[in-house]
Amino acid sequence: MSQLIRKVWDIHGGIHPAENKQQSLQSPIQAAGIPPQLILPLAQHIGAPASPIISVGDRVLKGQMIAEAKGFVSAPVHAPTSGTVVAIESRLIPHPSGMSGACIVIDTDGQDEWISHSGVDDFRSLSKMDLIDRVRQAGIAGMGGAGFPSAVKLSTRDDKPIETLILNGTECEPYITADDILMRERAAEIIAGAEILRHLIKPSKETLIGVEDNKPEGIAALQKAAQGTGIEIVPFPTKYPSGGEKQLIQILTGKEVPAGGLPADIGIVCQNIGTATAIYRAICFGEPLISRITTITGEACSQPRNYEVLLGTPVQFLLDQSGFKKDDCIRLVMGGPMMGYTLQDTAVPIVKTSNCVLAPSAAELPPPPPAQACIRCGMCAEACPVSLLPQQMYWFSRAQEHEKLEDHQLFDCIECGACSYVCPSNIPLVQYYRASKAEIRQAQQDKIKAERSKERFEARTARLEQEEAEKEAKRAARLKAAKDKAAAAASNPDSSKTDLIQAAIERSKAKKADAADPAQDAIARAQAKAQDRVQDKGDGKVAAEDPAAKTERLQLLLASAERRLVSAREKLALAKEQASENVEAFATAVIKTEDKVAALQIEIANHQASLASAPAHDAADPAQAAIARAMAKRAGVSADESDEDKTQRLQNLVATTEKRLAAAQQKLSTAQEQNDANVAAFATGVEKTQSKLETAKQDLAAHLARLAAETPASAETTPAPSSSDDPVQAAIERAKAARAAQADMSDEDKLKQTIASLENRIARTQEKLSAAQESGDDKAEILADSIAKLQDKLASAKQQLG
């Protein structure tokens, strides 16, 4: 052929283990059939697990989506055949940990009933976005083993133009023939898929399909199918691990993907040929990813072959068809002998990434001999396809020197196992690297968490400190306020604390007073109001109000206004203390209240003045009231007293006067005995009382005489006949008789009698005077004075008479 042999590059290291591929290539792909139950893990891909969109008991059809992608890096799951969802639960899944994961369990009904689906006849008519969306909805994930969602890988960015599209048909790992048989039998589908990918990615330079030269049939089939498409099939020498993405890129293009980078960084996109087939079926037939080709091989299987398997088919179901002899099998491996992992259970299902189940005999894959000490032979470094220093990393891994491990590019290790394969001491080197990678990732996560914890702790500490500071500030402010108040009290006693207390006490007293008689207060208020209303109604005469009531009302108003003033002042003081914004408002309130109080006081003063000008109505002044009462009594006595009452009254008067006289005489005699200084005064008192008694007796006698004259029948009621041995009574009798005699006397006679009595008194006083002069008493002067007075009286009486 005119085709030139394309130049290929070599990768460092690599190994050549026994291929053992021909066993499973003896028979063509066989449909595994429909198992009674399918177990579909929700996480069959790298990224977020899918989320179920059906519920237990639902009937699902073949191709129906049963779990949707959750997030960007995720892939949906579809029902591989028709049946009923019997459980969504945790089941054993194919995972090196042997752990369980969430699965949808479907009991198949054997009808294999498709959901309505359709492909597109000409994918070139669809936009890139549309195509990628179809790939996403088909749930396609990398089928070479990693399971990275294909749609994500195909979403290339415009700023990273793709030069080369590479399809990976290397399948370098021993035993596995799934891709080989796919190439042999379905080369056309691979090429069709490659065309779709080419349309999607639009590589500017070339499209390559890399195949190891140990698959001549596959290469031939592909070359036949690819004729005229411009897709180049590139065979290259067999070497493990050429099938690694980065290794294949290096072999085909000579370029190395930078550490930690992606193939897209150097303008390359790489896809597995199985993925290309799946994409072809998804675009052209509308079939989601519900089955794959899986190799069942190993000496423990009598009929090793490739199966077209529904996803979710239990491994046991496939082994049963392959003549699996459990006793011969030393361990069951998912994947190849180099990178696969041991399955603990045959109930685990085939998933999107399951390319092989290896059931080796003990002779075929003996358990590794015990590891021995590293002898630093360096064979691992020679074998490493990534040019690392495995033995150094081994030491660092054992010593937990994570920094040095990273310095030695641990994360570039593809875990191919070539180093372990060549190690003469049988050290499981890859396991160290895997463990160390996990430790470092864990340490990074711990570091991030520690950072966050620290932040949260510091934030909390800061918050607590702030709260404490605020409390402290408040406390300080309170203390300062108290000190200020104390200082103000010291400098200004008016606004002192005691004043405030006093004010508070007064206020509480006022309140108590209010509370004690709230009903009366209310009544008074109501009355005042009613009066106001009456006034308003009644010709608008203010004067109609009873003056007393008005006074009362005004006083009530004044009292309440004063109370309000006190409370307003307190409020103002409080506001000032707290530096409140309302200080002004309170000040205004105080001023207003003060005005009101003043106005009320003026009104009351005016009112009282008007009352004073109308004394008849002056009930406000108690003294005047008493005067009024006394006057009223007097008026009543003079006008309304009955005769009997008068008799009684006069008799009473006489009796009391006599008693007083007796007491006075007694006092006088005691005073005389004791030579008291007041003897003269007592004597005067006795005399005055005597004269009063005489007047009273005269009044009584005159009254009785008048009564006797008016009503002779009542004469017998007079006390005259009632004689007694009592000297007082006798005296009264005498006085009565004298008055009775006097009543008949003319004024001249009366005067004469008066003169006689005066002379008599003068004589008695002169006697006393001479006695006093004899004893050298200091009463002599008083007596002389009284004699002079009596003589004056005598003289005036004589004058009247004469």
């Binding site: 021995q372 895997r434 864990q442 914890s453 620290k454 949260r456 702790f457 934030a459």
Partner: protein, 197 residues
């Protein structure tokens, strides 16, 4: 004067040395002021290695105080959550001998769990949590924000109804990883026979 110095090499050398000492002393003093480092760089570095659980098992109220204490010369083996790895890192940083952990065992990474039906809503655990990882209010059930919990178990003690327990963090599919192999691979053949003999 110059003649005296020239004639007396002892005084000359003494003067030269003294003047050199003064000059460099001044230089050093100036540099010490000019390039003074704020804070305690050692404590910062130590703190970066501590796990920040703020659990107080070291006897200090948080990781920062312990870091300061280590910088001031305290032992480096008092952090059970950090375990041997932290001790090794600290020994490496400070250039001291790694010591065995000053505790019975490394504390297993765990997370506080509140049995919510028993919680009475007293908020005591909320006040105890050093990283504000417990949500709830008075007389309402509390719950732990598991992703923020450091597993310090400071909330367990104050709970009046003992409804908080520390649960070891379970390995999930996401957190599972390969363990390191532990075969006695260091023994050479003669050692092995000697060890078994």
């Amino acid at each position: 004067m110059i003649e005296l110095i020239a004639q007396n090499p002892f005084i000359a050398s003494l003067l030269a040395l003294v003047s050199l000492g003064v000059v460099f002393g001044a230089l050093l003093g100036f540099a010490a002021v000019k390039f003074k480092t704020e804070g305690d760089p050692i404590a910062d570095q130590v703190e970066a290695l501590l796990p920040q659980t703020q659990c107080g098992q070291c006897g200090y109220p948080g990781c920062r105080p312990y870091a300061q204490a280590i910088a001031d010369g305290d032992d480096i083996n008092k952090c059970p959550p950090g375990g041997e790895a932290t001790i090794a890192a600290l020994a490496d940083l400070l250039g001291v001998e790694a010591k065995p952990l000053d505790a019975a065992e490394e504390s297993v990474p765990s997370v506080a769990y509140i049995r919510e039906e028993e919680c009475i809503g007293c908020t005591k655990c909320i006040q105890a949590c050093p990283v504000d990882a417990i949500l709830g209010s008075a007389k309402h059930m509390h719950t732990v924000i598991a992703s923020e919990c450091t597993g310090c178990d400071l909330c367990v003690e104050p709970c009046p109804v003992d409804c908080i327990e520390m649960r070891p963090i379970e390995t999930s599919l996401q957190t599972w990883h390969w363990d390191k192999p532990k075969p006695p691979e260091d023994l050479i053949a003669s050692d092995r026979s000697g060890a078994s003999a």
